[in-house]
């Protein structure tokens, strides 16, 4: 993954993760392929550890048919990533929920995410 540009890294990471989430399979195994066991994700003041991240996949699977990611900008060093991107999630009710994300993250040497702090805002078309 080190050959990829930062934007490609972010897009590939989340597109691949979401594809596996939506496809089903063991939720813990999916999370463990993308996040280290000591993951701490803080998004809009809500902290998720590994178990809460795994639990989060159940409603995502129930509601999301597909996801597309627009990575507007990103910077990556050996163990840090920062990105601004928009997630377009198509729901089973046919609506598209679009969320802009501002992410700062720490990466493990194998490219998995160890820690992120995120702020988001809803940019869905009304």
């Amino acid at each position: 993954m080190s050959d990829l540009s930062a934007r490609e890294f972010v897009a590939n990471f989340f597109e691949s993760f979401t594809r596996e989430v939506v496809a089903g399979g063991d939720a813990a195994a999916v999370v463990d392929r993308y996040y280290t066991p000591d993951i701490e994700q803080v998004a809009d003041g809500v902290t998720l550890d590994r178990q809460r991240l795994i639990d989060h996949l159940r409603p995502v699977r129930k509601n999301v048919i597909s996801c597309a990611y627009d990575v507007h900008e990103a910077i990556r060093t050996a163990d840090r990533v920062a990105a601004r991107f928009t997630i377009h999630a198509e729901t089973r009710r046919g609506r598209t929920i679009s969320t802009e994300v501002y992410l700062f993250g720490e990466l493990a040497p194998d490219g998995r995410i160890r820690r992120t702090t995120q702020a988001t805002r809803d940019v869905s078309a009304s």
Binding site: A43, V46, H56, P59, N63, T91, R93, I97, R121, S124
Partner: protein, 67 residues
């Protein structure tokens, strides 16, 4: 106006899923989610029964907190 707490919402998309289900209830005019607390405020042009709220929240994949 009705206020209740939903468990399990952890991101903006969770809030969107719950909002989408509640907005599909007849008569619901607006839904506002406070993500850090899980508090949801719903306004409607008719009384919304607790069972309708519970069913909608569970349809979205989340839990209504007991009051």
């Amino acid at each position: 106006m009705t206020t209740f707490q939903v468990r399990g919402m952890t991101c903006a998309h969770c809030a969107g899923f719950v909002t989408e289900e509640l907005e599909s209830l007849p008569g619901v005019e607006s839904v506002a989610v406070d993500l850090p607390t899980g508090n949801v405020t719903l306004t409607a042009d008719r009384p919304i029964r607790p069972a309708e709220i519970r069913n909608a929240v569970e349809a979205a994949g989340y839990e209504l907190a007991e009051t």
